[in-house]
Chain length 342, copies 2
């Protein structure tokens, strides 16, 4: 088995090394061909590595830095001044071919800006997009992009996201002609803002993309569509709203099943089953959004991910690295763009 | 008890009179001071009124028209050409003081445009907003606006929505200084697009509004905020997404509790309790979005509302009429705007 090296921004996320380092150890334990370069403050990281087995320890490299990107750093500021930050150094490892993917739970805007400058976008891509898989009623996942990397998007950006999302779905799920839709406030052609309407016009004339039109928010989770495209402002709020309503439902269910002796008794008996269902819906199980459209692999973890959720993000990065995702996207993208421009 | 007359656009919504007329009969049955003017095609409506009791029938007036606003009519087109549509005639009844509120499940854009032209906005309000109450973890509702009446909004529009939402919450829930927030992709000041950032700046300097800053999508359902403001594009997608994920969770739960004999047996015993919880979360129970900022009351029902859901919308219109909502909003708004401009 070929070995695989990942670069970890250990300081990113709400809990920093307390989450990222144990998750890295878990990943190394379950995948013996994995190597991880942990970038961050050794003073905080070393104690967390202390008890690791030698077989795991020898697959860890460390790069020490005390500089971090703050959550409220503006992207441009982070880019100009955080030259020795854990985020930047981790990305440089990918740029320099020393790691094949980078994982960070830090400031999304800064990660996006640094990734774009350091790794560069693929030919034909102006702006990378943040994309993740979400569960649906049918059981097959749906890709939603952009999730917040691009707060303001023109129709050309939305079009490129549609192409990249389609290619990603083809590449990872081996799905032929995945159904691509634009997220909008109605399915009728007259609905929406200029950007969405113009993007729809372009996609309608792009034969290589299986564009099915506009969908509303309630279509995200039906499984009728494979790829749903929106700007990063809408995508981010859509994703966070989903988490919020899921938490509300779980709360209501717990309250409802916790009143009255008989109901409480019965509820306890089926609690494991309910737990299993709810954990399937736990957003942590879908942790890890990929920044696609770059010449390298970058996976963004939720800032508030716990160890299990962060492990998901590491595993996602490893999978994308194994499948050489950027190369796959590039190949398909080239063909689509050639077709469009011919 | 003072009598109350509502105007019903019987043709609006996916099912037209088949839903709107039975819901009207229900409303009249449960509220003996209520009168309803049903506007629409008598050929379709009459058979549905056939079996109504005389005590109900005599509180129904009918205005016959065969013209309707189509779901794909552009607002400007509807305004110019649908002069005899059920939607327009129902709104004219409110304008002419013959009804104190109008309910429609039709084309939102057209309803918005017609309402604005026929009823006019309150002084200081440029654009009406669509607002609804949503359930939260704490049990107290949160107001979310705009839900789709204004697909593109500048910072001034967002500011006005914040003022109107705050006043609405004060007026209906007797809540002192309700907490108002702007929906954004992050809570840090640097986050978001220009419109949201500028609206935040204005709100920060408006003492009469208890503005608490930006919130992310997962804060909508926590109950920590009373009023959440966003543009209609984001609001519509947020609302529909919530419906989608709620449906997904219910589906997963049903599947999870339907496998294995023992679990199935136990599930059946607590099914009524689960059903009760889920029905509390049913978006139909929150049906009825108010178009606020107008000199009259307009309630928009979901297009796909069933009879029970449509009844909610009628009841909401009746409540707002009883409380003379536009006058209450106007009084408070005047004071806030005077204060701001002084």
């Amino acid at each position: 088995m070929t070995s695989l090296t990942l670069a970890l921004d250990a300081m990113g996320g709400d809990y920093g090394p307390l989450v990222t380092v144990p998750a890295a150890l878990q990943a190394l334990k379950s995948n013996s061909s994995l190597h991880i370069i942990i970038v961050g403050n050794q003073v905080e990281i070393d104690p967390l590595l202390h008890d690791a087995e030698p077989s795991i320890k020898h697959r860890i490299q460390q790069i020490h830095t005390t500089e971090v990107v703050n959550m409220d750093d503006r992207p441009v500021h982070a880019l100009r001044t955080r030259k020795n930050s854990s985020m930047r150094l981790a990305l440089e490892l990918v740029r320099d071919g020393k790691a094949c993917a980078c994982i960070s739970g830090g400031n999304t805007g800064a990660l996006m800006a640094m990734s774009k400058v350091l790794l560069k976008t693929l030919p034909g891509v102006d702006r990378p997009a943040l994309v993740t898989c979400l569960p649906t009623v049918t059981g097959k996942p749906v890709y939603l992009l952009d999730l917040g990397a691009n707060v303001v998007c023109d129709s050309e950006a939305l079009f490129q996201f549609a192409v990249m999302g389609s290619v990603l779905c083809e590449a990872i799920h081996k799905k032929q002609r995945p159904k691509v839709a634009l997220l909008n406030v109605g399915i009728e052609e007259i609905k929406g803002n200029d950007q969405v309407q113009q993007a729809g016009q372009i996609l309608q004339h792009t034969d290589q993309i299986n564009y099915i039109g506009f969908v509303e928010g309630d279509e995200i989770y039906t499984g009728n569509v494979d790829v749903i495209v929106c700007d990063g402002f809408v995508g981010n709020i859509t994703l966070k709203t989903s988490e919020g309503i899921a938490k509300l439902l779980v709360h209501q269910l717990k309250c409802g099943l916790n009143s009255g002796f008989f109901v409480r008794f019965l509820s306890k008996l089926i609690a494991p089953r309910i737990q299993a269902v709810l954990s399937k819906m736990n957003p942590d199980h879908y942790n890890g959004a990929s920044l696609i459209g770059l010449r390298g692999i970058v996976v963004k973890s939720h800032g508030n991910a716990d160890e299990a959720a962060y492990l998901q993000a590491i595993n996602l990065a490893a999978t994308e690295a194994k499948r050489r995702l950027p190369e796959m996207i590039n190949d398909r993208l080239e063909s689509i763009l050639l077709d469009i421009n011919s």
